[in-house]
Amino acid sequence: MGPSLKRTLVALLGCGVFLLAGMAPAHAQKATLRGFVTDAEDGQAFQGVNVYLETVQGELFGGASTNVDGFYAISRIPPGRYVLHASFIGYQSVTDTLTLAADETITRSISMHVDASELGEVVVESEQDAGAATSTAGLQVVRPEDIARVPTVDVSADLVGYLQTLPGVVSGGDRGGQYFVRGGTPTQNLALLDGMIVYQPFHIIGFYSAFPADIISEVNLYAGGFGAEYGGRLSSVVDVAAHEGNKQRYAGSVAVTPFLTSALVEGPLWPGRVSLLASWRESLIEQAGPAVVGQELPYRFGDRFAKVHATVSPSFRLSVAGLQTHDRGVITPGEDEDELTVSAGKTGEAIWENEAYTGRFLFLPAGFPMLGELQLGFARLRNEFVSDDELQRFSSVSEFDARVEFNYFLRATDVNAGLFLRTARLEYQLNDLFEGFDENDEYVTEVGFFMEADMRLAPGLSVTPGLRVQSFPSLGRTSVEPRARAVWRIGGETGRHELSAAWGLYHQGLVGLNDRRDAGNVFTAWVAPERGHDVPSAQHYIAGYRVEPVRGLQFSVEGFYKMLGDVRVPDWAVTPNFQTALQTADGTVRGVDLRLELTKGAFYGYASYGYAAVEYDAVFTALGEAPTHYSPPHDRRHQVNALGSLSVWDFDVSLRWQFGSGQPFSEAMGFDTWVPLPDPSADVGEEPGIRRVLYLSPYEGRLPTYHRLDASLERTFPVSRNVGVTMQASVINIYDRSNLFYLDLFTLRRVDQLPLIPSLGLKVAFK
């Protein structure tokens, strides 16, 4: 531990002690009310419920909104008698009279019942914290109903379909499972499911991820500017919370489409206290692909998820969850399986498997206005590349996580602090794929802590400063990362205008190596950066404005600027080398997102435009010592998405169109043979030379634009009171555009994305 780290730790420890010391007297003589809110219908946590206290004279004291665990807390309450209210549109309000004594901490859990008299009068625009246009300083909250609006090939929605509609999210194509968020690369994104790290969360076919909508309670998508509780990645966070499973009765569904078959079941293991949620999906695309699409689709994938949630006591909740995914397929199938394409890793089968397990304990310490959380987890990703039934290379990362976190609730400030420990085993055998990384098996341990305070400074104004310190003792690296977020809803919580901003410093201690020059090469190796090299870093600056000029119409604009440092990029080469040397690049990403969302009765419309410019500076060996300024292959400058859905005559009709400007590639003048002439002993009649591409400048060309129109029609037929059958017809790529997926400059082989895909889906659900 270096002197600077010691000083930092001592300073932070001092700050923490000071803060906690200040909290204790402030808390003295005051009472705290807290608890969990559940839906009486299924016993699951109820998020977004407004819980507030009034004095018996009818004066509003204060309140809180429940989080994804259904938890609320109201602190610093003077002793006295109060009336507790809990309300959510469409549910019966709960009212309770309480007497709170000094220094008392009361846990009062609430069960909400549906208000049958309000059926048909619910308006979704009341939920202002979610929706396609509600991006706040890089954060977008996604709910299952948002995901369901996007037409897909499947009768059950998937999170990835929704992500594709977001400005700033660039897909690597409809296969390969690669996503780029605001200029970051896929391995710079952090994906979490109930706190479990999912290293490769997207399936090999781009319509599916490890996150089926049916298991999702809420998704917090940070396109940047994420707070101190997240770390270890430079670009984005997709934090998925699975719902708990029905604690009152069994429910489930079975669905089948030409691409996938799936089943889901949930129900009480111990009615009212312990629930099970289990999901299983397996692809059918390999069997059905030729009939539906008219071409071989050699892909197999699937996922399994299970979660057990227990309400052990009013103050103690426990959940255990596990996820397994598997994918395999030839990303760029073709006839050119010769030595050149095989040796360059262009032809062969990519295989990856995720495993993740977690145990999460939520507890309310007696006598403290605090929510405690302990989470233990294990995550593993194994990535292989196989050619001619021989394992060419593999990479495996296995990670154990432990995290303890405390949320301390003050009247106008919530303090969130935690400690974490991670030990990762990094194994790889790359067969000389990347220069300097051939074969290794090492353990890397990361320890650190974070602290952030959500301070509500005035009605509608909150500021959240934070700090994260993470250290890799074995590598001798420590990073200190200040963060800050601010949101100002002008005019208070009900105001129509909102300004937001975020800033943060980020480092990535474990790096995913991938040859980004080649979209068909998805093999990724997770490694610890070489000693003597700085770890990749980023600074995010985000500023946004959101307005709701009239009810049901929202508009938002958000600008962002990222500074990237020491990111790993493949070196420039003009020969089809098997081995890729790596260079470090600095860069910037700047852009703006515009979103417009309209909800009018049964119609929902959403349109977005995203501009993002990604620019790198890297020294390429072949191009001399001066840095080369270029835009990497994932620099999609312009994106447009339009989505419309209409519920009419019991049919749900959805239409979605997406457009993306062309991505960079390197144009060439042709090919020739480079003949080495080191000295006059060379013989041009004996030396075969090396075939090479006569490139123009790196990445100065642009591929054709991408656009596609998808549509779906869906209707649910009630079979009985508890059983419904949903039928869905969908067409992907309606006008059958030949969108380019992959162009191999060495062979000039072009692989297009999937053509027009008609699909019929059937889903039987019971409840």
Binding site: E41, D42, Q44, G90, L119, G120, V122, V123, R143, E145, H243, A251, S253, E266, L340, A573, V574, T575, P576, K600, G601, F603, T621, A622, A642, G644, L646, D652, L655, F665, A668, M669, G670, D672, T673, V675, P676, L677, P678, D679, P680, A682, V684, G685, P688, G689, I690, R691, Y695, L696, L703, P704, H707, L709, Y735, R737, N739, L745, T747, L748
Partner: protein, 329 residues
């Protein structure tokens, strides 16, 4: 299945709003169809190969050491693979720009050790020092790729007198040859010693590398340790012979044959445009000059080396008595 879905289903139960919603949806659809209709005509093709004014790659060098010259010529191709030895539609000529003499070269298809093919053009030609040659490769449509190279000029050798001296009782001999007007390090520097009376009863040339070269601007000094050379030569010859003289040759590359940072790095040099002097094409054309000088050593020095001077040839049989360098002689 979850609460969110249930809330959504309730929101759809508002039939009185369907008319407005339908109108909004219809408007949105019309707009979308208009945009899609306009864009669906967009080009989906991609042309990764940009036709330019580079037609051929040309590799090789003109070599004064040989009376036949070779260059490898290849058309800039639209594909990476060369699958067959297709005919190359090219006319290769060389022109001596000093004299105007022009020569048409002949094509030959070469199969390399890795199974690939190449076109190597050749012509009988002796190149001349300081002359500039242009090699042109011309397509049938008249488009041309060319490169020029200037043969290194003849340097001026300055043969310093050999000296012999007594070093602590052992006779030693040294000599310096100074080459002027050599701007770059010679590729080769060879020294040969001629002896009479070889196997064919003519003469024998034995080569010994010089020990040291040193650059002083465009002047190179070659140090000959004659004593050490004599030891080696005697070992090869087996017995003292009559030494006729010494010759020295140097091979020079032209001025353009200089790598970035002075290092032959394939990763750097294979980049198109790096280390290239070809116009309207790629590759490199160089030139090699080869020059030599001869001189004779004084009898004293030859004697100090342990060999027989030419005027003592008739006394060759007595030379054994002088074998070795005796101190004090």
């Amino acid at each position: 299945m979850n609460r969110a879905h249930r809330r959504r289903s309730r929101t759809s139960a508002r039939p009185h709003q369907c008319g407005g919603a339908l109108r909004a949806a219809a408007s949105a659809c019309l707009l979308l169809i208009a945009v899609v209709g306009g864009l669906s005509a967009c080009e989906t093709g991609v042309e990764p190969i940009v036709q330019g004014d580079r037609y051929f790659s040309l590799y090789g060098f003109l070599d004064m050491r040989h009376d036949t010259q070779y260059v490898r010529v290849e058309a800039v191709a639209p594909t990476l693979r060369v699958t067959s030895p297709e005919a190359l539609e090219a006319r290769v000529t060389s022109t001596d720009l000093a004299t105007g003499d022009s020569t048409v070269w002949r094509d030959s298809v070469v199969t390399f050790s890795d199974g690939t093919y190449g076109h190597v053009f050749w012509t009988p030609l002796r190149i001349i020092a300081s002359h500039t040659y242009r090699i042109e490769v011309e397509r049938p449509d008249g488009r041309r790729t060319w490169a020029e190279t200037t043969v290194p000029a003849r340097p001026e050798p300055e043969v310093q007198p050999a000296v012999s001296f007594n070093d602590r009782g052992v006779m030693r001999a040294r000599q310096q040859i100074i080459w002027h007007d050599v701007p770059r390090a010679p590729f080769t520097t060879n020294v040969k010693y001629r002896f009479f009376g070889g196997f064919d009863q003519g003469f024998t040339d034995l080569e010994e590398p010089p020990e040291l070269t040193r650059l002083e601007d465009d002047t190179w000094t070659v140090h000959l340790n004659l004593t050490r050379a004599a030891d080696s030569l005697l070992e090869k010859l087996g017995s003292p012979r009559v030494m006729g003289g010494v010759s020295m040759a140097i091979t020079l590359q032209d001025a353009a044959w200089t790598f970035p940072d002075g290092v032959f790095d394939p990763d750097v040099l294979s980049n198109p445009g790096v280390f290239s002097n070809v116009t309207n094409g790629f590759g490199f054309l160089g030139a090699v000059g080869s020059y030599s000088t001869e001189w004779v050593l004084t009898p004293r020095v030859i004697d100090a080396m342990g060999f027989l001077p030419p005027d003592q040839q008739k006394r060759e049989g007595q030379a054994v008595a002088h074998a070795g360098l005796q101190g004090g002689s």
